[in-house]
């Protein structure tokens, strides 16, 4: 039962990450692989705060979000004028630099990361139990989903998709493309970094590599770009599926690699055969 709650917490966190990235990739057409870095920044800021200053949840969320947004802007502002693939590679560069900072700075604990992080407190209550952490993560996911729905259903959401289709045309209609992109970047960063605040007792920098960013992109692609429900479903699927390996006669050593192979297969399959994702209509959103 405890284990199920733990899995649920993971699903909630990754659903938040996937929805946030989907807004960038699926709706606006900004393909970024830096989200593991932003997620990590949220995690490290929370951990450092908890270890040295305060473990109040609201303060952590706020400061993590701020740090995440700042990092995101540092990535985005110079890179937004680059064309598609170059933008992606620029984000790849930033991701690698952020990871190097996690790995090599003393303040972040270097390759050992940070541990013995005190649990967050909310209005004086310490959130230590698995159930408490799940409630937190689920709450964040629900908030993220709800706001994302609002955004995508609004005229702003329509602008996002228009930008994805043809930025030049959007500019020719008098709308500020740059403002649109920066806005959605900030929104996405807030939730990505906030996801990093969830359920920490220890952080390992290895959790925030380029591979992790690719995993989140996989969630978006499998769920279907431009499909928020798909992102949630994909998060559930891709986290639960490898758990099934535990019931199969697969040697311990090979299990993590098999999981990676599975993710790779999903990426290949969905990009090659079913670009609309698990439940998308064939609208060829990802082109």
């Amino acid at each position: 039962m405890d284990y199920a709650i733990y899995i649920g917490t993971l699903i909630a966190i990754y659903a938040t990450l996937a929805i946030s990235l989907n807004l960038l990739v699926g709706y606006t057409g900004l393909i970024s692989v830096a989200q593991a870095g932003v997620y990590g920044i949220g995690a490290y800021v929370t951990a450092l705060l908890a270890l040295h200053v305060t473990n109040d949840l609201l303060v952590s969320l706020l400061l993590s979000a701020v740090a995440g947004v700042l990092a995101s802007l540092i990535v985005a502002l110079p890179s937004l004028r680059l064309r598609n693939e170059y933008f992606l590679i620029a984000t790849m560069g930033f991701q690698s630099i952020i990871f190097a900072l996690f790995m090599n700075l003393d303040v972040t604990g270097g390759p050992n990361g940070l541990y013995n992080i005190p649990a967050p407190t909310l209005f004086g209550f310490s959130i230590k139990t698995g159930l408490g952490k799940f409630a937190l993560a689920a709450g964040l996911a629900v908030l993220c989903y709800w706001l994302a729905l609002r955004v995508t259903g609004s005229p702003f959401g329509r602008l996002l998709r228009a930008v994805r289709e043809d930025q030049t045309a959007v500019a020719s209609l008098g709308k500020n493309v740059f403002r649109v992109k920066v806005s959605i970047f900030i929104f996405s960063a807030v939730f990505t970094a906030a996801a990093g605040t969830m359920s920490l007792t220890a952080i390992d920098p290895v959790a925030f590599t380029l591979d992790e960013s690719i995993f989140i992109i996989t969630l978006v692609i499998v769920g279907g770009t431009g499909n928020l429900n798909g992102s949630i479903l994909a998060a559930a699927l891709l986290i639960v599926l490898p758990e099934i390996f535990k019931f199969l006669p697969i040697p311990e050593a090979v299990a993590p690699q098999l999981r990676q192979v599975l993710y790779g297969l999903l990426l290949v399959f969905f990009t090659r055969f079913r670009r609309q994702g698990l439940i998308g209509e064939y609208r060829d959103v990802l082109k």
Binding site: P155, F156, L159, R161, A162, E165, D166, G174, K175
Partner: protein, 271 residues
């Protein structure tokens, strides 16, 4: 100030009364060694249809791109309604009242016809993310109003059967109409139309010409790039002929028709 007077007097001798709403003064643009536009000067009067003609490479689309801010001129000025607009980014130029279509259409292909038009409506309340997040009834009411306006425009264009069709699924003629629809939604006063009738059937060409006359009657000003000489002659109040980036003649359609050297240069190149 001298350049403006020169343009004014040109147009005045042709018997026009309207004010000059767009002035191009000594505009030049080169790409590497290639001169696209050289010392181009002309004016467009309010409430008229002015056409830019010339063979391929004469600089017509470059002129459009310069006016609408997609290119920065090497030298020269562009003045719209008394304010300088050269050097401004495209979305700001649009805010001054200049709008354009593209030769390659540039529709929002995977958006519906209605969304294409709605995306063009200026001053919508929900277009900032913070406002969109806040939501509320005022937002919904604004969206309703805009949707009604969008549908009205589509009815005008006889596209209302296709409100929820994806733009990429329309026929070419319908897509061109949709492009025009976006401009109408954008409430543009000064329209730059880049080859609006190319690729259309004769019936649709007729339809477009009627619509352009209707736009004029509604108080808009149109600057046109067209290859079809007949349409140009039929439709325009004023014609400007470009060749290799320079203006070689301008005048009423009749004057241009009578201008033998122009017809030779132009026809000589196009035939």
């Amino acid at each position: 100030m001298n350049e403006t007077t020169a343009i004014e007097s040109d147009l005045a001798t042709a018997g026009f009364g309207g004010t000059v709403v767009l002035e191009i003064e000594n505009l030049s643009k080169s790409f590497g060694g290639l001169t696209a536009v050289a010392n181009l000067s002309f004016g467009v009067r309010a409430g008229t249809i002015t056409s830019l003609i010339g063979s391929n490479g004469a600089g017509k689309t470059t002129a459009f791109n310069l006016i609408t801010g997609y290119l920065e001129p090497d030298s020269g000025r562009i003045v719209f309604r008394g304010k300088r607009v050269d050097g401004l980014p495209p979305h700001e130029i649009v805010r001054t009242g200049i709008s354009r279509t593209f030769q390659e259409l540039r529709l929002f292909n995977r958006l519906t016809v209605l969304d294409n038009v709605l995306a063009a409506i200026p001053g919508q309340q929900g277009e900032g993310i913070l406002r969109a997040l806040r939501g509320g009834r005022a937002l919904k009411a604004d969206a309703e109003r805009n949707a009604e306006r969008g549908r009205a425009i589509l009815r005008e264009l006889m596209l209302d059967d296709h409100v929820h069709t994806l733009a990429e699924q329309l026929s070419y003629g319908q897509q061109k109409l949709l492009g025009l629809g976006r401009l109408l939604a954008a409430e543009a006063e000064f329209l730059l139309l880049d080859e609006p009738t190319s690729g259309l059937s004769p019936a649709m060409v007729e339809d477009f010409c009627n619509r352009m006359r209707a736009l004029l009657a509604a108080g808009k000003t149109i600057l046109l790039v067209e290859h079809n000489v007949e349409i140009v002659m039929q439709l325009s109040d004023w014609v400007i002929v470009l060749h290799q980036g320079r203006k070689i003649a301008e005048g009423t359609p009749d004057e241009i028709r009578r201008n033998v050297s122009v017809m030779h240069t132009y026809l000589g190149i196009t035939s």
